[in-house]
């Protein structure tokens, strides 16, 4: 799991930010603790988010990461994405 490089730096890369902004309904800043469900991420949108991220990073989420915990917050999702990305 990859923590943000420094507290001042963005918590994730621009691609992740773009995909999240595109798929997650609610407005407002996205920080690692942002609860995606509170921003209106419903079942359809969470599947859309999964597919978009797999395409953007050319990764495949294994079954054990297909969980509510992974998609709970922007930070939990990024930690899985960044780990999968470095495994490639």
């Amino acid at each position: 799991m990859t923590p943000p490089e420094t507290p001042a730096a963005p918590a994730w890369d621009g691609r992740f930010e773009d995909v999240l902004r595109d798929v997650v309904p609610g407005a407002g800043p996205l920080v690692p603790g942002t609860r995606l469900g509170d921003r209106g991420l419903d079942s359809m949108a969470s599947v859309a988010l999964l597919l978009r991220l797999e395409e953007a990073y050319d990764v495949r989420f294994p079954d054990e990461h297909l969980s509510a915990a992974t998609f709970a917050t922007a930070g939990s999702l990024w930690s899985v994405v960044s780990a999968l990305r470095t495994q490639r």
């Binding site: 595109d22 309904p25 209106g40 419903d42 079942s43 359809m44 395409e55």
Partner: protein, 564 residues
């Protein structure tokens, strides 16, 4: 309530007597299954599985716990539980006490939960760890048990109470449903009606003892609750799935499911997930669908990703559980939801209740032993839907449609402001009542979804109050289950009025269709196109504009649907 001379229950005779003996109460289904196949797997969840003998043992422990906690015949027991093995045990345990199961969604918000707790006045509420305290604070005086601690806690003191004589004989269930009213109503579901409809559905669908039925639909929704009854009736396994939507197909593989009861929006998820999953779900032999209209395009896509499965459209309403089930061996024409259940009657009537000839559009009405006994302690709402006629009780569904010469039923819409999102029934009245409860809202108007836009809510801001689109959305999310919160939430400074001084919904709708046409939401596009270019906000974002290169982007079928 219904004279049985209008129907012939013998039509479903092959299933009337279960292997374990005569079944005349819902809990007898379990006893029959335990007697017939004690070592067969009965119910599983991600944490483990139980045979029918195990389920019976757990059920006996819960029955004893309920007895020690003063639960008597006719008492209501609220189950605010997610799908898990204990839920299966508790449902039958409550019935064995002669008490009434009141399943409630864990997503029910305090605004509506408090109403249901007050109107059903349960003897005890069973809720999960973390939620139990929250429920306890909501309506003081109702004991709340943390179901995750099992049937082992010390008995709570039992206060004496009077039973209302008006309630009649104890039903099996009170299943709550949202209709055209602000608050959910409990459909009184007697044992005889529940058993009749369970057998009638079983007769059509033919679940088998070697089936693994995937439990994705929450038991608070009758579609989910009856999966338990249908599985036990067939001595099949009900495999409760992890509810995370991204796991849906992974759960099919994990459980080895052979039968997938899905609402169409879950079918959409499955199709999308199949596109990223190289495994072939070859064990699946049947997909059933109800809760909203099943678009023919989705039937084709499901058949493609589940090559060995038959897709069975169904149609129902909690007030009689199920109206139509297609016959998998003799499918109805595309677009139909199948024929009436055996032993029941479906008709289409005009506005004065006169039956219309085949092919004519009207309101769908239902008769038969499956028509439930009205709404819990709501005589006025009951007489509107459950109307007494010369042929017995006629259930007025509020759905529009027609029946063809062969008896195939087609559903086309609703008469009132009732609509469905993600299989969850709600109405303009329900969403507007929740919006008016949000601080800063002076008035609210809801546009049900149609071909051009998903559901939208407009709130009139009270002068001087702080309220914006996001706080409106958050306020609604605190009061309604997620599927009932319109994706498009707008705070306005004034409501356009019609010449008669009523809120001009047409002008509000026109505003929605303005320079950035609405995408219709997750179901609103042909499935073979890339679902990922869609904007899910359905509002004022550039991504919501139809891509000129994708002329179909705004022209797909609407998400709106009315078949239950």
């Amino acid at each position: 309530m219904v004279s049985t001379d209008v129907v012939s229950p013998d039509v479903v005779s092959p299933d009337v007597v279960s292997p374990g003996g005569v079944v005349d109460r819902v809990e007898d289904l379990l006893s029959a299954a335990v007697a017939a196949r004690p070592d067969a797997r009965a119910v599983s969840d991600p944490d483990g599985s139980w045979t029918y003998a195990d389920l019976d043992t757990a059920c006996r422990s819960w029955t004893e716990w309920l007895r020690r906690n003063g639960v008597e015949a006719g008492d209501r027991v609220v189950l605010r539980m997610r799908n898990c093995r204990d839920l299966a045990a508790v449902v039958f345990a409550v019935l064995r006490r002669g008490a009434v199961v009141v399943p409630l969604s864990t997503a029910t918000r305090p605004f509506q939960l408090a109403h249901v707790l007050r109107t059903t006045a349960p003897r005890v509420v069973l809720a999960h760890d973390g939620d139990a305290d929250h429920v306890r604070d909501l309506v003081p005086g109702i004991p709340v048990h943390d179901v995750d601690r099992g049937p082992h806690s010390a008995p709570t003191p039992v206060a004496s109470r009077a039973r209302s004589r008006e309630d009649g004989p104890a039903p099996a269930f009170l299943v709550h449903t949202s209709g055209s009213t602000a608050m959910p109503k409990g459909v009184v579901s007697p044992h005889a009606a529940v058993l009749f409809v369970t057998r009638a559905i079983a007769h059509r669908l033919r679940y088998r003892g070697d089936d693994v039925v995937l439990g994705t639909v929450p038991a608070s929704f009758d579609y989910g609750l009856y999966q338990l009854l249908l599985s036990v009736h067939a001595t099949a396994e009900l495999a409760f799935a992890d509810p995370s939507p991204v796991r849906l197909l992974a759960e099919v593989h994990r459980t080895g499911a052979t039968v997938l009861p899905l609402v169409p929006s879950a079918g959409q998820l499955l199709v999308r997930l199949a596109g990223r999953d190289p495994r072939e779900p070859n064990a699946v032999r049947m997909v059933t669908s109800t809760g909203e209209a099943l678009p023919p395009a989705l039937v084709r896509e499901l058949s493609r990703v589940l090559p060995r499965a038959t897709v069975v459209p169904m149609y129902g309403t909690t007030e009689c559980k199920r109206i139509c089930v297609d016959d998998p061996l003799d499918p109805s024409p595309v677009g139909s939801v199948g024929r009436a259940l055996p032993g029941t009657v479906v008709e289409v009537v005009d506005e004065s209740g006169v039956p219309l000839p085949p092919g004519t559009q009207g309101e769908i009405v239902v008769r038969g032993p499956h028509v439930m006994a009205g709404y819990w302690r709501s005589p006025q709402a009951t007489v509107q839907r459950f109307r007494c006629g010369t042929v017995g009780v006629v259930l007025h569904t509020g759905d529009l449609g027609h029946v063809d010469d062969a008896g195939n039923v087609y559903v086309s819409g609703r008469r009132d402001g009732v609509f469905k999102r993600h299989g969850v029934r709600t109405s303009a009245a329900e969403v507007e009542a929740a919006a008016r409860d949000v601080p800063g809202v002076a008035a609210a108007a809801v546009l049900p979804p149609d071909e051009t836009h998903d559901a939208a809510v407009f709130a009139l801001r009270r002068p001087g109050e702080r309220l914006d689109d996001d706080s409106l959305r958050a306020g609604l999310a605190a009061r309604l289950e997620p599927a009932k919160v319109p994706p498009s939430c707008h705070v306005v400074e004034e409501f356009p009025l019609t010449a008669h001084g009523k809120t001009d919904l047409a002008r509000l709708a026109a505003g929605l269709r303005g320079p950035t046409p609405q995408d219709t939401g997750p179901d609103g596009k042909p499935l073979h196109t890339d679902p990922l270019t869609r904007d899910h906000r359905g509002d004022h974002r550039d991504a919501a504009r139809p891509d000129p290169a994708r002329p179909d982007a705004a022209a797909g079928p609407s998400h709106r649907s009315d078949a239950a």
